[in-house]
């Protein structure tokens, strides 16, 4: 029986002297083969295992590197946070790559290297965890813990009932701003694969715990498995407060669509006149579709004849200019309108910049998507 190596696999032979198969295998040829054998080692490719020592060394290197970086940037090494690191790396290694994940990063090794399970058994081959042979020890121990807590709470309740101090009040904590962990997140915490039924069972247990009257410790336990959900991209709008000029309140903002840039000045009190680049919008946009785009923000908020607009636009084509003005007008209207209406506009899509741009033509194709005519022969 082979002794369990570091990763629990049979040790690999190093330095083969001759090829495994071949017509002239009787010819002894000194061949320097690499450590990896000619047969594909599927087990090694499955997961790159990093040893604990390796990870520890990486963490030390990371900390030293962080101090070096702080010195380079002229900041205090003691109070150098991860955000500062990110900013420094972006400054020192500017990258024009579109994919953000492909740009150079410097993060703590915990976030870079995937979590791995420590060795599950000792020198004698006996596993540490009592649930090892279930195949998912951490999951089952978690279920065990949760059920234990439920039993404790029920016992406590029975005691209180027996004493007559039981009060029916069920304090429902605010569950609105948070959600349960999703299966992937749970898998990440436990470093084990789960099935859908396992996950559903676990969530059911936690919900059952929630229905009972619980104390602070149980509350904390449950909160570990909830994530807040209020970061709804709601508050991402920068709304400069309106300023006055000659006593008229107006608000100015910009919008862009497909290489057309527009800047709109919306006056708070007016009669619905819109002038684009100095000319009337009827003359500038003879097509009804463009005028409908201009009308959309006002019509949505029921303020058709109440605002005057003076805007400038350049670049792009006819529809792009109309879209750019619409975005600029919607953003300008944010300042003149209640927060609720701002939220409605955001949900209607008036405040989202349309980032569809012309796709580039690829070589070997006639256009961006169109291929050349395929001829069978």
């Amino acid at each position: 029986m082979w002794k369990g190596g570091e990763d629990g696999k049979p040790p690999r032979k190093a330095g083969r002297r001759e090829p495994r198969l071949g017509p002239h295998s009787w010819i002894l040829r000194l061949r320097h083969t690499t450590v990896v054998s000619t047969k594909k080692n599927i087990a090694a490719l499955r997961r790159e295992t990093y040893t604990l020592d390796f990870i520890k060394k990486q963490i030390e290197e990371f900390n030293i590197g962080k101090r070096h970086l702080a010195n380079m940037m002229g900041e205090d090494p003691e109070t150098f946070t991860q955000e500062d690191i990110d900013r420094a790396i972006a400054y020192l290694f500017p990258s024009g790559l579109f994919e953000k994940r492909a740009r150079p990063i410097m993060k703590h090794p915990e976030q870079i290297f995937p979590k791995q399970r420590a060795i599950q058994w000792g020198e004698d081959g006996r596993p540490f965890h009592f649930l090892f042979y279930t195949g998912k020890p951490s999951y089952y121990s978690l279920m065990h813990e949760a059920y234990g807590k439920i039993l404790d709470v029920e016992k406590h309740q029975n005691q209180l009932r027996a004493q007559g101090l039981f009060s029916e009040k069920t304090k429902t904590k605010d569950l609105i701003g948070s959600r349960w962990l999703i299966k992937e997140e749970l898998e990440e915490i436990l470093v084990e694969k789960l099935s859908d039924q396992d996950y559903a069972q676990f969530i059911r247990l936690l919900e059952r715990l929630l229905t009972l009257q619980r104390g602070g410790a149980e509350e904390e336990f449950v909160q570990r498995f909830r994530r807040s959900v209020t970061i709804q991209s709601k508050k991402q709008l920068i709304e400069p407060v309106q300023y006055d000029e000659q006593g008229m309140a107006f608000s100015r903002s910009e919008g862009r669509r497909k290489s057309a840039e527009a800047e709109a000045v919306v006056y708070a009190h007016g009669s619905g006149r819109v002038s684009v680049n100095g000319t009337d919008y009827l003359l500038y946009f003879p097509v009804t579709q463009d005028r409908e785009q201009l009308m959309f923000p006002f019509h949505f908020l029921d303020r058709l004849g109440k605002h005057d607009v003076a805007c400038t636009v350049s670049g792009g084509g006819r529809a792009a200019q109309a879209g750019a003005i619409r975005l600029a007008v919607a953003r300008a209207l944010c300042t003149l309108v209640t927060e609720e209406e701002v939220e409605w506009m955001r949900q209607a899509g008036l405040l989202t910049a349309d980032l569809r741009v012309r796709e580039r033509k690829k070589p070997g194709q006639e256009g961006a998507r169109r291929k050349f005519t395929w001829k069978k022969r």
Binding site: L282, L283, E292, M295, F296, H299, G305, A348
Partner: protein, 395 residues
Amino acid sequence: MRERSGTPNLHELDAGHFLHTGSQAPQNLAAHLDNQVPVESPRAVSRTSESDPAKHGEQHEGQHYNIPLQDLKAVFPHGLPPRFVMQVKTFNEACLMVRKPALELLHYLKNTNFAHPAVRYVLYGEKGTGKTLSLCHIIHFCAKQDWLILHIPDAHLWVKNCRNLLQSTYNKQRLDQPLEASIWLKNFKTANERFLSQIKVQEKYVWNKRESTEKGSPLGEVVEQGITRVRNATDAVGIVLKELKRQSSSGIFHLLVAVDGVNALWGRTTLKREDKSPIAPEELALIYNLRKMVKNDWHGGAIVLTLSQTGSVFKPRKAFLPQELLGKEGFDTLDPFIPILVSNYNPKEFESCIQYYLENNWLQHEKAHTEDGKKELLFLSNTNPGQLERLCAYL
């Protein structure tokens, strides 16, 4: 495209109900006309029973008056814009809106002094504001007043897309347009039947070796000659214009020269000779004679002109001022003239127009009669009559 997320439209239900009951019971409300807001009696706002343009005044502003269909055929054989003709056919009635520029012009025309040289009035404005229809209003008035109407529906038709150009028999340098001239002569005949026998020619005109018109024969003969002998149509037109100009001073009739798209007379043409050299407008006989007509060296009538960018050649889309469209030459020739600006609808006229469409059941959209719907239409068309008409066609 008009998405909403839960905004209650409070006005919709109320206004819809309100106006709906209003239009259904005009008889009850007509009695209360004086004390109540016009919105409550839509029929009174959009229509008037006064069908004689002579009696139109300030109080009829914004209202539509009816032109009987026989009159239409007699007075406007060729003058109405094509979209209006379609509308007349659809609604089975011809209603024109009384508007301020037309009222102003009517006032001037009523006070014309026929001893003075003919005054030139130029209607100008943005595209689609109603210049041609105002001209038609004036023509109807003059027809009712028994004037002789010389109406050229669109001068641009004479400077572009002409197939057959003949060298003029009268003057070798000029070119004839037989088709256009004959069409115009036919329409002229329909419009002014009764005058053609009254007016007598004052010269002898020889057409060719066999045919000639004697002095003292009625003008109708010249017109007939032009219609039957298409080759001489352009010359017939020239003769008609010359005679009318000469005889309008005599006082038998009043002459109204109405030209739509007068900026075509000066400028460029799209026509080319066989050797591909461009033709200037002066070289077309029709244009040459018309220019003589538009000069104010005769008296006994009036000249009403309209500028138009829509059919014009080689002019930018946004040009509408007389200076831009006529060019220096035209402006100098027409100077002095009285410019009359035709602008977009004011709120009252807009409301009236919408009411008219609603009455004829032209707007089928359920939101069309609500306040919100009207505001939308207002914004989309920017109160431009042409745009509004095109928009409503889709509803």
